[in-house]
């Protein structure tokens, strides 16, 4: 898929509108009405992006799954499980590298399992990953007994809280993952097969695409991304919690769809997902800055999701 052909300007427009609106609202009323800070400054922006990087990282994996015509509902739970496993191992003094690796592998393993069951048992991804969502969350609770795991080693905390060249590490991780996966999608046979399966699975199979293998790789990638997000998330907040990432799957799917990934498969880009995540993350931040109550925040987010997709479809069909 050439980037330009599938790049949608509606989503850029929505993003731009949002940024403009927030900039004006927070700066013009900033002084007088006592909002805590303005939207458009470096520290707020880097905070916002760091906050949404977890969603974006999982969004990259999710996008690839959705492009094949599937869905992965387990990403939020897998994030939680991988975070808890990492935290427990850290406290067991296995050392930071081993604990981090274990957290990532948990995600990868969960993804592979999803892929295997979906392809071997020929079950709908919705059901399989719904099951995995419950299993992973349950395991996370079982491991911690519901307790929050604290006092993680400072070396580990650096991963989620530290910066390289002034950029928070989660943001760098997001950029790196997005760039890599975006490249793989565009420039490898595997990427092409991903789109082909989403477009017409039967035809792809008869054209010689090893559908099972590609699908397993796709779910593995999605799990891997959730694992990475789990480790970063745990490090960022300095605690291992079995409730981490609760309900994130919806945000992740929303980010992908807002970013132009078609739920029926076959279409979508990684750049789109990143912009979709930005749109959602900035909105949350803006609502906080504007001091909107938590209840109304939900209403506003729901509205914006639907409006953004409408705007996007309108501008692409014309």
């Amino acid at each position: 898929m050439p980037v330009l052909k599938t790049m949608r300007f509606g989503i850029w427009l929505a993003l731009l509108l949002e940024v403009l609106l927030l900039t004006i609202l927070t700066s013009s009323f900033g002084g007088s009405s006592g909002f805590e800070s303005t939207f458009l400054n470096w520290s707020n922006l880097s905070q916002v992006i760091r906050a949404l990087s977890f969603i974006a990282i999982m969004g990259v994996g999710q996008a690839v799954v959705i492009i094949t015509g599937g869905i992965d509902l387990s990403v939020g739970s897998v994030l939680g499980l991988s975070g808890v496993v990492t935290a427990v191992l850290l406290n067991a003094n296995v050392g930071t590298p081993a604990a981090v690796l274990a957290g990532v592998v948990v995600g990868l393993f969960g993804g592979i399992l999803n892929g295997l069951v979906i392809t071997r048992a020929k079950l709908p991804p919705f059901i399989v990953t719904l099951g995995m969502m419950s299993i992973a969350r349950g395991l996370a609770f079982a491991i911690t007994g519901g307790e929050t795991i604290r006092s993680l080693p400072p070396g580990f905390l650096l991963i989620g809280q530290g910066e390289i060249l002034g950029l928070p590490i989660p943001i760098l991780a997001m950029a790196l993952l997005a760039a890599t996966v975006g490249f793989l999608l565009r420039s490898t046979p595997w990427g092409r097969y991903t789109y082909a399966i989403g477009g017409n699975e039967e035809a792809a199979l008869l054209s010689g695409v090893s559908v099972h293998r590609v699908k397993i790789a796709v779910y593995a990638l999605c799990g891997l991304a959730a694992g990475i997000a789990g480790v970063l998330f745990t490090s960022r907040f300095g605690v291992g919690q079995s409730t981490a990432g609760l309900g994130y799957e919806l945000d992740v799917v929303a980010a992908a769809v807002i970013g132009g990934v078609s739920l029926t498969g076959g279409r979508g880009t990684i750049l789109g997902v990143i912009i979709g995540s930005l749109l959602m993350g900035i909105l949350r931040n803006g609502l906080v800055l504007l001091d909107v109550s938590a209840y109304w925040q939900q209403v506003a987010i729901g509205l914006v999701i639907v409006l953004a997709v409408i705007l996007d479809r309108r501008t692409t069909s014309s």
Binding site: P2, K5, S187, T188, P189, R192, Y195, A196, G199, N200, E202, A203, A204, L205, L206, S207, G208, V209, S210, G266, R267
Partner: protein, 502 residues
């Protein structure tokens, strides 16, 4: 008296293509008006405008001499315009009966509840009218392409229509089903229905048509009575030049043994034994449901086999997936290009290279320039009509889609190519090119199996013809032995008459 239907000054433009330009067309009640033209000439576009499926940019549609608004399919239905689309518009998850009455369900008295027994009964009636028996409760997903075509026709017939447009209704059908369809058409004519008939099989035009209109490149070329035309002139109007002979057969000495099938059993296939030589073109004949497609799928690893031995180039093969078959050197052009061939939202380029990406990759990465070069070469070689290789195949006409799939298999450079209905929906000019292309493959030593429901075509291109009936191979005839009658006899199961020849 004003004609039943009149279309004039019709124009339709797509980005990069003018599909129709000032096209006019007239249909009288009780006549079969054939619409002819090369692939991409604009026939389907004109019909879709008539059925309200797409909007025209300019032009008038008049019914009984009065301007009619036909902007949506519902409008068309109100005016009594029925349509059999070239690309199926059936819902695979629904049953045969539910599809036939979709949007038109009979209800129980005044309650808004579907009267299923009536629906099934009436469905059975229409299907029986076509001389077929398809279980009306069966899911459309499981039907063969020919059966789906029958359902599509039944759907159009179930409605009371004054104008019935048929866009290549016989493309997947054999002679037998075609004859039944023609009976129905003749009856509709007597009832005063006006019929628009599109087909690339010219014999049919002379059998059923009253008048013809020819389009070329989106413009009107010629209109006259069928009686005033012959095959040569039809071809000349369509293609713009003469074609010397219909089947450019080159006699070839066959090479060594390429494919040997021994005692193959799989699903409906019973004890198939067959040998194919390098450079040989073997035709596979049979009625719909005889197991020809099934045999192709089993050889290609798309369906499992139960027992038997298959060797290719002396090596035993047992592909468990199409990928393994392709790697072993087998290619299969599937019969239903829309369902089993193309990835619609992908470009012409991406569809052509899909089965052989390693050829256009340098290392693990795809080379865009290599890929484009391949796509450019095939689009010009096969004269695929498209604004460019980046066009989505979704926007190509039926015949041009077929050429894209064909290009894909040519690019795999297989040693055995199985073509299942390679010329379905292909115009005469291109058919000729495809025959030449098959000849060229044979000359290069490729073994070719051709499955076609167009019997004259099959006899015209093949070195030998194998005939199947109900999952069995009932005979193999040499080019000299193979006459229509003998093939039809074997296809209906008269093995005793012919004996078995290996």
């Amino acid at each position: 008296m004003a004609p039943l239907l009149q279309m004039s000054g019709i124009r339709k433009e797509y980005p990069g293509v003018v599909a129709l330009q000032d096209v006019g067309f007239e249909l009288r009640s009780g006549e079969v008006h054939c619409l002819l033209g090369e692939n991409g000439a604009g026939k389907s576009t004109l019909m879709k405008i008539l059925s309200g499926a797409i909007r025209r940019d300019a032009g008038r549609i008049m019914i009984d001499g009065v301007d009619a608004v036909v902007d949506t399919p519902a409008d068309a239905q109100r005016h009594g315009i029925g349509m059999i689309y070239q690309d199926f518009k059936l819902v695979p998850e629904l049953s045969v009966a539910e599809n036939i009455f979709l949007g038109n369900e009979p209800t129980q008295g005044r309650l808004p509840l579907i009267d299923y027994s009536l629906m099934h009964e009436r469905s059975r009636e229409v299907i029986a009218m076509l001389g077929e028996s398809i279980p009306t409760a069966a899911q459309v997903r499981g039907l063969s392409i020919a059966q789906r075509q029958i359902v599509e026709i039944a759907k159009a017939l179930s409605k009371k229509v004054r104008v019935l447009a048929m866009d290549e209704p016989t493309a997947p059908l054999t002679e037998h089903e075609m004859k039944n369809l023609f009976k129905v058409i003749r009856r509709l004519k007597e009832e005063g229905v006006g019929i628009i008939y599109i087909s690339h099989r010219l014999e049919e035009i002379f059998e059923i048509g009253d008048r013809i209109t020819v389009l070329r490149d989106g413009t009107f070329v010629h209109s006259c009575l069928v009686a005033e035309a012959d095959k040569r002139s039809l071809v000349r109007w369509m293609v713009g030049r003469e074609l010397e002979q219909e089947y450019p057969k080159i006699p070839l000495d066959r090479g060594g043994e390429l494919l040997r099938i021994e005692h193959l059993n799989a699903g409906m296939l019973k004890d198939i034994n067959l040998t194919l030589y390098q450079g040989e073109i073997l035709g596979l004949a049979g009625l719909v449901g005889a197991g020809r497609t099934e045999l192709a799928r089993v050889l290609f690893g798309a369906d499992p086999r139960e027992s038997g031995r298959v060797t290719l180039g002396g090596k035993e093969i047992a592909p468990r997936s199409p990928r393994e078959a392709i790697d072993a050197g087998i290619g299969l052009l599937t019969e239903d290009r829309n369902a089993y061939g193309l990835i619609m939202q992908m470009s012409v380029r991406e569809n052509i290279t899909l089965s052989n990406l390693k050829e256009v990759a340098s290392g693990p990465f795809l080379s865009r320039s290599a890929e484009s070069a391949v796509a450019e070469r095939f689009t010009s070689e096969l004269r695929i009509k498209t604004p460019g290789i980046e066009q989505q195949v979704e926007h190509l006409s039926g015949g041009n889609r077929q050429k894209v799939v064909l290009a894909r298999w040519l690019f795999t450079k297989s040693s055995l190519l199985i073509f299942d209905e390679p010329t379905a929906g292909i115009d005469v000019g291109v058919k000729f090119e495809i025959y030449q292309l098959i000849n060229r493959l044979a000359q290069e030593g490729v073994g070719v199996i051709v499955i076609s429901s167009d019997l004259p075509e099959l006899l015209g291109v093949s070195d030998r013809v194998a005939v199947m009936c109900e999952g069995r191979l009932t005979g193999i005839l040499s080019r000299q032995e193979a006459t229509q009658e003998r093939v039809m006899l074997l296809a209906s199961g008269e093995t005793a008459l012919e004996g078995f020849r290996g």
